[in-house]
């Protein structure tokens, strides 16, 4: 009978291994990013012995392509930590792109009034949505579903349903040439939108790690009743979080207009789903209260690398969707596993 007992040394070992697994899971999305990166290198087509995936130009393309979704995903992370969801971000991006083009080109305002105005619109829409969920007690899914329609409708009305091209120059119906910087790169290598993404990401990491605001967000997402009883200003925090999410979607919209040299009312359709995917792959729980910003950044990059390598290999667009879907399910499954064991 004593033979059946696990020797203490072995138990300690398994205990230790459990800890190692836990620690690995903590950087799960980073590991996933690394894995996808390595697979991409191996799967990359080559030209003259050069790995196309690893060329500076290609890597620049990846971060450039990721930056808009990445910035949106940062805002989305706050919302999801709160236990909510924001479906309106893609539509806000479209509205902001239209707003940027219209105000700058049609109305002839400079960068200075245009960009702050567009960002303010995004923040206000977000704040209104936050207020509706907090005060009226409607689920954010529904509120932002409505917000999506409203923002999309506004964008169509404002633009007359057409894309508004942005031409650069000093004349009438031309945007200030300085705005073209969003299309450029620093030293011809690092795209400007990627720098903005990095800045937003780092700022968000700092906020989430060090501020009382972040503690409130986690507290509400974890147990809203307990948070309220602990004196957390629940309404104020919710409004702020949705405002930040709307603001960042507007930032992405301005970048979008700059990168495509136009603002079209249909821009950003479906971006909300990519952003949510990045958040989930990053290990943030959709039920709120746990997750990290670093995970989201890695998740967004991973999706970008995946898109890129699939495109480099000329994989059929429909098959691409399929593969992306499977990756998301795998990432979510990993999380369940971790929670189920603990």
């Amino acid at each position: 009978m004593t033979l059946l007992k696990t020797p203490p040394a072995l138990a300690r070992l398994t205990g230790g291994r459990r800890e190692l697994v836990d620690r690995l899971f903590a950087v799960q999305s980073l590991v996933a990013l690394l894995v996808v990166f390595i697979v991409a290198i191996l799967a990359s087509p080559t030209r003259d012995g050069e790995i196309l995936f690893l060329t500076a130009g290609n890597l620049g393309n990846i971060v450039r392509a990721v930056s808009e979704i990445g910035i949106i995903a940062v805002g989305m992370t706050f919302v999801v930590l709160l236990g909510g969801i924001d479906l309106s971000v893609g539509a806000i991006l479209g509205l902001s792109a239209v707003g940027t083009a219209t105000l700058m080109v049609d109305s002839g305002y400079g960068i200075a009034p245009t960009v702050p105005a567009v960002l303010a619109i995004g923040a206000v829409i977000g704040a209104l949505q936050g207020y509706a969920t907090a005060r009226l007690g409607i689920q954010s899914f529904i509120v932002t579903l409505a917000g999506l329609q409203v923002a999309r409708g506004l964008a169509r009305i404002w633009s007359g349903g057409l894309g508004i091209p942005i031409a650069y120059g000093d004349g009438p119906l031309q945007a200030p040439p300085a705005f073209e910087i969003l299309n450029g790169s620093i030293n011809g290598v690092v795209p400007v939108p990627a720098v903005l993404f990095l800045a937003v990401g780092v700022a968000a990491i700092v906020v989430l790690r060090t501020t009382a605001f972040a503690r409130h967000v986690y507290a509400i997402g974890g147990n809203e009743k307990a948070a309220r009883l602990s004196g957390v200003p629940v309404t104020r925090v919710k409004v702020a979080v949705f405002a930040v999410c709307g603001l960042l979607a507007a930032v992405a919209g301005v970048i979008h207009a700059g990168q495509l040299n136009q603002g079209s009312p249909n821009d950003g359709a479906g971006y909300e789903l990519d952003a949510i995917a990045a958040v989930v792959i990053g290990g943030t729980s959709l039920s709120g209260g746990s997750g990290s910003m670093g995970g989201t950044l890695a998740g967004a990059l991973m999706l970008g690398v995946l898109n890129n390598i699939l495109a480099l290999n000329n994989i059929d667009a429909n098959v691409q969707l399929l593969i992306k879907g499977l990756v998301i399910v795998a990432a979510a499954g990993l999380q369940r596993l971790r929670r189920g064991v603990a």
């Binding site: 009978m1 059946l4 007992k5 696990t6 203490p8 138990a11 300690r12 398994t14 205990g15 459990r18 800890e19 060090t210 501020t211 009382a212 605001f213 503690r215 409130h216 986690y218 507290a219 974890g222 147990n223 009743k225 307990a226 948070a227 309220r228 009883l229 602990s230 004196g231 957390v232 200003p233 209260g289 746990s290």
Partner: protein
């Protein structure tokens, strides 16, 4: 020889680096109540979770009816005739009382559909046996903690198990319900059921248990027959030293002239916009708490103690509130807990899991949540200051945790309760409202908490303490106010009364004409 139902031998269980059980031997015989005692974090729940199939990776053997088994999950344990009332209530809040009762073994009609009638019948039968009056159709989420505990008990009883594990079943019950439960336990014992009974209330152990095993730091410290004359021995087995008087208070009797009124409540009546079934809302309550005074709130379950505290903390439902409340002489009608906290009023809610904690969150973050504004500059948390105050509080309350960064859920029940208390103390309130603050807290820590309350009162804090434990109310409080159906039934001086007097006041109107 009485048959042995369960024999656990050499049980060892680790959580990461924490040794929760270290080579424990434990048996349950037919027809006995075996008390399992020990400080918070001693390993009682862990040991019983192994017996009930919750933890499956342990060293040692569990034998049921003399046969070594490896219980795979709680359902497996139930098949082996082991039912458990868990310390932390595990009911589904969205489901009704009856649905929770039969969860996982719902009665079916011949057409394989849910047999609602049978479900209702079962629920009513179980409740009748327990002598409780509870509508089986209410969602569990709307029940008070004590009521949830009764549902949990009824659920375990309805399994008709041979071994019944009760992990602090009475922590949220008032005395009347406790005596009813004891009658039931007595009946089960006579039918040959083996019962494991965990509690921090020594009086209960002495009444109900046939023998007691004490755990200390995960190992068996000794076994004894519980009796009042053995109590000091039992306690010293638990804490590893002798504990002086529980309620010892350096009676600094303040002269009446010095008493400064802190809270004055006159004719407080609450009429919620949407009535809450099963709740007794304040109905013309007059009450006062002076600075430096500890006032007890006694009453049966559903007498309105929690509702009163919630109202005073601005946490009640949307309601029409009438009556006059002043705090420090100024009108006081908090619209939210945040407003109450800003006026220096804190509340320790009764339901720590539902209303206070998020189990995966860190201990330190949970502790400072209400006091963040004291620990921040420009919205940034001052880490060193935070760490210092957390460590200080953990020392003052003797919180046992792997690390300040450990998840709250990894702490034992009693230590979780201390985290909730710590959160309030960090806000340095002037008036502290406590709803069952020692629920699930061990003897040693209870004595510490009482000492802390006395110290806080001596420093001028006013304390309003709602408790179901009469010895606690009588031992700790300067005055005991008895509530009955939302109104004050008596205002007693603990020095002049016994527990029976308090109970009598809680059950009948003065003069004995009830209704």
């Amino acid at each position: 020889m009485v048959p042995e139902l369960v024999r656990m031998s050499g049980i060892t269980k680790r959580f990461g680096g924490v040794l929760a059980c270290a080579g424990v031997d434990f048996t349950v015989r037919a027809g006995e109540v075996h008390a399992l005692l020990g400080e918070n974090g001693a390993g009682k729940s862990t040991l019983m979770n192994i017996l009930s199939g919750v933890h499956t990776d342990y060293e040692g053997d569990v034998a049921v009816h003399g046969e070594v088994v490896r219980l795979r999950d709680p359902a497996d344990a139930q098949r082996h005739g082991i039912a458990t009332i868990h310390q932390e209530l595990d009911l589904v809040p969205q489901l009704t009382v009856a649905e929770n009762l039969v969860l996982g073994r719902e009665p079916r009609t011949r057409a394989r559909l849910l047999d609602r009638r049978a479900m209702q019948r079962l629920a009513r039968e179980e409740f009748a046996a327990l002598g409780i009056d509870l509508d089986p159709n209410r969602p569990v989420g709307s029940l008070r903690v004590g009521e949830q505990q009764l549902v949990e008990i009824a659920k375990a009883l309805s399994l008709h198990a041979q071994v019944l594990v009760m992990d602090e079943p009475t922590a949220a019950l008032a005395d009347a319900e406790v005596s009813r439960l004891f009658e039931i336990i007595d009946g089960l014992r006579r039918r040959g059921v083996g019962i494991v009974y965990i509690s921090h209330r020594m009086e209960e152990i002495e009444v109900i248990a046939d023998r007691a095993t004490v755990l200390r730091n995960g190992a068996v410290a000794g076994s004894l027959t519980p009796a009042p004359e053995h109590r000091p021995q039992l306690i010293s087995l638990m804490v590893g030293r002798s504990v002086e008087a529980m309620f010892a208070r350096p009676k600094t009797q303040k002269p009446a002239a010095e008493a400064r009124p802190l809270l004055r409540v006159a004719g407080l009546t609450v009429r919620p916009r949407t009535p809450r079934p099963g709740r007794a809302e304040p109905d013309g309550i007059d009450l006062s708490v002076d600075a430096g005074e500890i006032v007890g709130l006694a009453g049966l379950m559903g007498s309105g103690r929690t509702e009163l505290l919630e109202t005073l903390f601005g946490a009640g439902p949307a309601a029409r509130v009438t009556g006059a409340v002043t705090l420090d002489g100024l009108p006081y009608a908090p619209k939210s807990p945040r407003a109450a906290l800003a006026r220096g009023v804190g509340l320790v809610p009764e339901d720590r899991r539902g209303s206070a904690l998020t189990l995966p969150h860190q201990v330190d973050h949970s502790m400072v949540l209400s006091a963040l504004s004291r620990l921040t500059t420009l919205g940034f948390v001052r880490r060193t200051r935070e760490r210092a105050s957390v460590l200080d509080m953990m020392r003052r309350l003797a919180v046992k945790a792997g690390a300040p960064t450990a998840p709250v859920g990894s702490l034992s029940g009693g230590n979780q309760q201390k985290v909730v208390l710590a959160r309030q103390l960090m806000t340095v309130p002037r008036l502290l409202l406590l709803d069952e603050p020692t629920r699930g807290v061990d003897v040693g820590a209870k004595a510490e908490i009482y000492q802390i309350l006395h110290r806080l009162a001596d420093e001028g804090m006013g304390i309003l303490l709602a408790s179901s434990e009469l010895p606690e109310l009588l031992g700790v409080c300067d005055r005991v106010v008895v509530l009955r159906r939302g109104a004050v039934a008596a205002d007693l001086d603990p020095a002049d009364v016994t527990g029976d007097d308090v109970l009598a006041a809680a059950m009948t109107a003065p003069g004995g004409t009830d209704r």
